[in-house]
């Protein structure tokens, strides 16, 4: 029996040792604190010379049909919809435009400073889906999270560079107000109570980002003249980026094409 005890102790010890080895990864993944990031004083954008970048995110060919969301796990969610609800992970409009693509200026704005963000961005839980499915906020900007459903949700963002959190929000609960301190494209948000619920938040240090509508079009206004890397992110199609040059008071075009 003593041998068995030693054996048991040994295997548990090995388990502890290996498990603790994985812990270092987790701490890194958890990110740091929510301390505000200070931006160094720099150039301000001159509205008189500001230009824009616009374009379309398109999908060539026939897009796969979205999976039907089965909400039977919660009768409240099931009753909230009279029509079938489909996944929003890839929505292609009639003209081939990709909806819910996040477009942002990834590089080229070094040295600029921007006015602090004003106003709140809303994320609602409505009919047991997130509305909107994809959204963007500035670093430090308040994100107001609402629950319009008569059921309890948990909101569980899983960032890599920002602090993660997980809180429940019952029916008629007051809105939650959160901020993200660091730029991160994108932060997945999920509800573990209703596992079909997913949303994505793009956190950007500057105001040059947009989410495409059903036509796939976007426009980034007020950009100072310069060379930029513009990136589009889509949850299913992945990222793409392009180099664009914006002349003084000029407009540039950057179309992104997937599929085909």
């Amino acid at each position: 029996m003593r041998k068995f005890g030693v054996f048991l102790l040994a295997v548990v010890s090995v388990g502890l040792w290996i498990a603790c080895g994985g812990g270092a990864q987790t701490e890194e993944a958890a990110g740091g604190t929510d301390a505000p990031v200070e931006s160094a004083a720099g150039k301000k954008v001159d509205p008189a010379t500001a230009g824009s970048v616009s374009g379309k995110v398109a999908y060539a060919g026939e897009a796969p049909a979205g999976a039907r969301l089965r909400m039977g796990a919660d009768p409240v969610c099931d009753k909230a919809h009279s029509e079938p609800v489909y996944s929003q992970d890839l929505i292609v409009g009639d003209g081939g435009g990709v909806e819910n693509a996040f477009v942002w200026v990834k590089a080229g704005l070094d040295g600029y400073t921007f006015d602090p963000p004003s106003g709140q961005v809303q994320l609602d839980q409505q009919g047991c889906v997130y509305v909107p499915h994809v959204l963007g906020v500035r670093t430090g900007q308040e994100l107001q999270i609402l629950n319009s459903d008569p059921t309890t949700h948990n909101i569980n963002p899983t960032p890599q560079n920002n602090r993660d959190w997980n809180e429940s929000q019952g029916p008629n609960a007051p809105p939650k107000v959160k901020t993200c301190a660091r730029q991160e494209v994108m932060i997945p948000v999920k509800c573990n109570v209703h596992p079909w619920m997913k949303s994505y938040i793009g956190v950007v240090e500057h105001p040059y980002f947009a989410v495409t509508g059903s036509d796939g079009a976007y426009e980034l206004k007020g950009l100072p003249p310069g060379q930029y890397t513009v990136e589009v992110w889509h949850e299913k199609l992945g990222p793409q980026e392009q180099q664009v040059t914006v002349a003084a008071s000029g407009s540039a075009t950057a179309d992104f094409n997937y599929g085909g």
Partner: protein, 300 residues
């Protein structure tokens, strides 16, 4: 007492399956608070809450069974080392409960989740061991040392436990695509595949010896081991296919059950190999310490 310890061990296997369903359904954070659930003892059991709170309820039941078992053993078991097994099980279930709470409050850090999964298997081993050493077949001197390969059986048990550990790392480190923890998935997968090869070789070697034994019981044990091994290998392929999305979207029943069954059969294989270690390691003179009333109470 034996029947009660069997009930505790069986409930622990159910608890492991319930825990596997929590992970497979990505429901570990469906209830953000602990020890209460949404500030209540009994929340509405919908969606992921069904799995997470259900797991907590079963865990509470197993905890209660373990307390009763440990106290029972402490008060009436004459063998000191068996009483200590009961105390160890009680300590393990308390730590396990705390780890379960911790992994929720810390939002499923890989280290804590893996530790929770591994301690679950170690606790299961303890309950299985208690059930066996309080059984008639252990207590009876007539069944002493029917098998002969304790080292090989120990190697099988250790290899299976390490496989469960690697499997736990795979399950808990890879839940978020693109996460930094996901970087350890590929090395863990490679180690898990090599481990599967090692377990297969060891189990087949042990089973062949058992099948060639003289009596019927070892042969049945050999067949059981082989059956569990091949079931586990098939379920492993299923769990991998589930992981890469070949069995439907996340949360699809086939995907959930392939991975959870892989965990459950792994636990059964661990228990079966541990029972062999105990059978083979049993010393004939241990039967002398058993009170005659224990033998009289146990059904044949």
């Amino acid at each position: 007492m034996h029947r009660f310890s069997v009930l505790t061990a069986a409930s622990t296997l159910v608890l492991i399956i319930a825990g596997g369903l929590v992970t497979s359904n990505d429901a570990g954070l469906a209830v953000p608070d602990w020890p209460l659930s949404f500030g209540r003892l009994m929340p509405e059991m919908v969606g992921g809450v069904l799995y997470e709170h259900g797991h907590r309820m079963i865990a509470s039941g197993v905890g209660l069974l373990t307390i009763v078992l440990a106290v029972w053993l402490w008060r009436s078991e004459p063998r000191g080392w068996v009483r200590k097994l009961g105390a160890a099980a009680l300590a393990a279930v308390i730590v396990q409960g705390l780890l379960g709470g911790l992994t929720v409050l810390l939002q499923l850090p890989v280290a804590v989740s893996v530790l929770h999964a591994c301690l679950a298997q170690a606790f299961f081993c303890l309950t299985v061991a208690i059930a066996f050493v309080t059984s008639r077949s252990w207590l009876s001197a007539a069944s002493s040392r029917p098998f002969r390969w304790p080292r090989l059986a120990s190697a099988v048990t250790a290899a299976v436990y390490l496989q469960l550990l690697l499997g736990a790392i795979l399950r808990h480190a890879g839940t978020e695509a693109g996460s930094k923890a996901e970087q350890i998935v590929m090395p863990a997968l490679a180690a898990h595949l090599l481990g599967a090869l090692l377990v297969t070789v060891l189990v087949v070697a042990l089973a062949i010896r058992l099948l060639w034994s003289e009596s019927g019981a070892p042969q049945r044990q050999g067949i059981l081991l082989l059956g569990l091994l091949f079931s586990q290998l098939l379920l492993g392929v299923g769990a991998y296919m589930a992981r890469v999305g070949a069995l439907g979207a996340a949360g699809a029943p086939l995907r959930v059950w392939a991975a959870t069954s892989h965990v459950a059969v792994g636990a059964a294989l661990l228990a079966a190999s541990l029972l062999l270690v105990l059978r083979m390691g049993r010393q004939p003179e241990w039967a002398e310490t058993v009170p005659s009333r224990e033998l009289a109470e146990e059904p044949s």
